[in-house]
């Protein structure tokens, strides 16, 4: 039980950064929160709404995302997409991710 808890905690830490990257990767096109939940789930990258919604707000506050309300549909929805800053940050993060995963692969495969 305790071992499971430790593992879960560490997995959570590992995932934390990746989640941000996964979310940013889908937001070249505007999406609202729940559509992102579904898209990410279909891509085999499930993320709970309770994590995603606050994350979207944080990223918006940091200026990586811009949002707008669409009130034309039957329920109002808040659409998020990458800002200029968000796009360039995302590209940098992708480079970082690739080199990190390469180096970690080298380490753990030896």
């Amino acid at each position: 039980m305790e071992k499971e808890e430790i593992i879960n905690g560490l997995i959570l830490e590992l995932r934390r950064g990746a989640v941000t990257l996964g979310v940013l990767s889908r937001l070249s096109e505007p999406h609202y929160g729940y559509s992102l939940v579904q898209i990410l789930e279909e891509s085999g990258f499930p993320i709970e709404p309770g994590t995603l919604y606050p994350l979207l707000r944080r990223l918006e506050k940091q200026g990586l995302l811009v949002s707008s309300w669409d009130t034309n549909e039957n329920r109002p929805r808040k659409y998020y997409r990458l800002s200029e800053l968000g796009r360039s940050v995302y590209n940098r993060l992708c480079d970082e991710w690739r080199s990190l995963s390469e180096r970690v692969s080298v380490l753990i495969n030896k």
Partner: protein, 334 residues
């Protein structure tokens, strides 16, 4: 759908006002979307709502996520300092009350000792709780406005040169020194606010019961009491600053100077207030023959006030200079 409203309320009620509406709208949309997903055919049922809300989880945790920080009355950043200050305040209050009650017992013994002991414990517990409550309130306010105490402000990037010198022993401020100062200030506050008649000349004669000639005129003293209280509170703030900074830095010396100037001004206003000195106190000097009758009482009272003022100026000057010298020494060791 009442549960939906209750859930949204539970999440948003502790969130900052500005974000509340926006989050509420977004959350409502989310839950409705999830419900629609759950109830593929037809209207969503109560079970579906329960399932969706369970999936979203504890509203308190969700609110924490939105706030990205937990709610504390007093957070981990300030807790150590808070606990430290509570201990000092409670100890000082207990000590001050013990002293004040002992003095009043000696001066004016009441009928029953049991009564004294009873009132002693009830006043100590009462006052300790008050002190505790006030410190807690102050720290809770700091927490609310996100003030982090005890962390020094840093503008520049840290380099190893910024490491503090191992201070010479005499250049560290000993907490005991400051605590003694705080204790005395608390005692003084208690004394001035409850027993100013005890300040004066004690006349002990063999045949008559001993009596006190108070130094101050009670009415005028009560009127000017707020000034004294402010002075003493400044004194406490001064000592707390010493505790917080812990070393004789320039900043501390300057703050000390500032506090001292304010104190001096307040003292001069206080001591010069019209009719502050008790007439009996002035005439006492004549009755014991210390002052010849030829000197006018108002002139005598004037020179007494001048004496007090000079005394205060010298005391404050010494304190400020000692502090400045210590800070110069402290800087030379850097």
């Amino acid at each position: 759908m009442e549960k939906l409203e209750r859930y949204i309320y539970a999440v948003t009620r502790k969130l900052p006002e500005k974000q509340r509406d926006d989050i509420e709208k977004e959350l409502r949309g989310l839950i409705e979307d999830m419900l629609a997903d759950h109830a593929v055919n037809g209207e969503p049922k109560v079970d579906d709502l329960d399932a969706v809300l369970t999936e979203l989880g504890d509203p308190v945790e969700l609110a924490d996520q939105f706030r990205s920080k937990k709610l504390y009355l007093i957070g981990p950043d300030n807790f150590d300092l808070y606990f430290f200050v509570v201990k000092i305040v409670v100890a000082a209050v207990a000590f001050g009350i013990s002293l004040a009650l002992t003095i009043s017992y000696v001066i004016d013994p009441p009928q029953s000792l049991l009564e004294v002991i009873g009132s002693y414990f009830s006043s100590i517990i009462n006052a300790a709780f008050q002190g505790f409550a006030w410190v807690t309130v102050v720290f809770a306010i700091f927490e609310y406005f996100d003030v982090s105490l005890g962390k020094e402000f840093k503008d520049n990037k840290w380099t190893p040169d910024d490491l503090p010198q191992l201070p010479k022993k005499e250049l560290i401020i000993k907490p005991a020194e400051a605590i003694v100062g705080i204790v005395f200030a608390v005692i003084a506050i208690v004394l001035f606010n409850t027993a100013d008649h005890l300040l004066g000349i004690y006349i002990v004669t063999e045949n008559e019961p001993s009596r006190i000639i108070p130094l101050f005129n009670h009415e005028v003293f009560r009127m000017m009491l707020p000034l004294l209280n402010i002075m003493l509170l400044i004194g406490i703030v001064k000592e707390v600053t010493k505790l917080l900074i812990g070393k004789w830095t320039n900043t501390l010396a300057l703050m000390n100077l500032g506090f001292n100037i304010i104190t001096l001004v307040l003292f001069i206003v206080f001591i010069n207030s019209q009719g502050l000195l008790n007439i009996d106190f002035i005439t006492y000097f004549y009755t014991i023959g210390l002052v010849p009758e030829t000197i006018d009482p108002s002139a005598l009272s004037g020179s007494l006030i001048k004496g007090f003022t000079v005394f205060a100026v010298i005391a404050i000057l010494i304190d400020s200079i000692v502090n400045l010298v210590k800070s110069v020494k402290f800087n030379m060791t850097k």
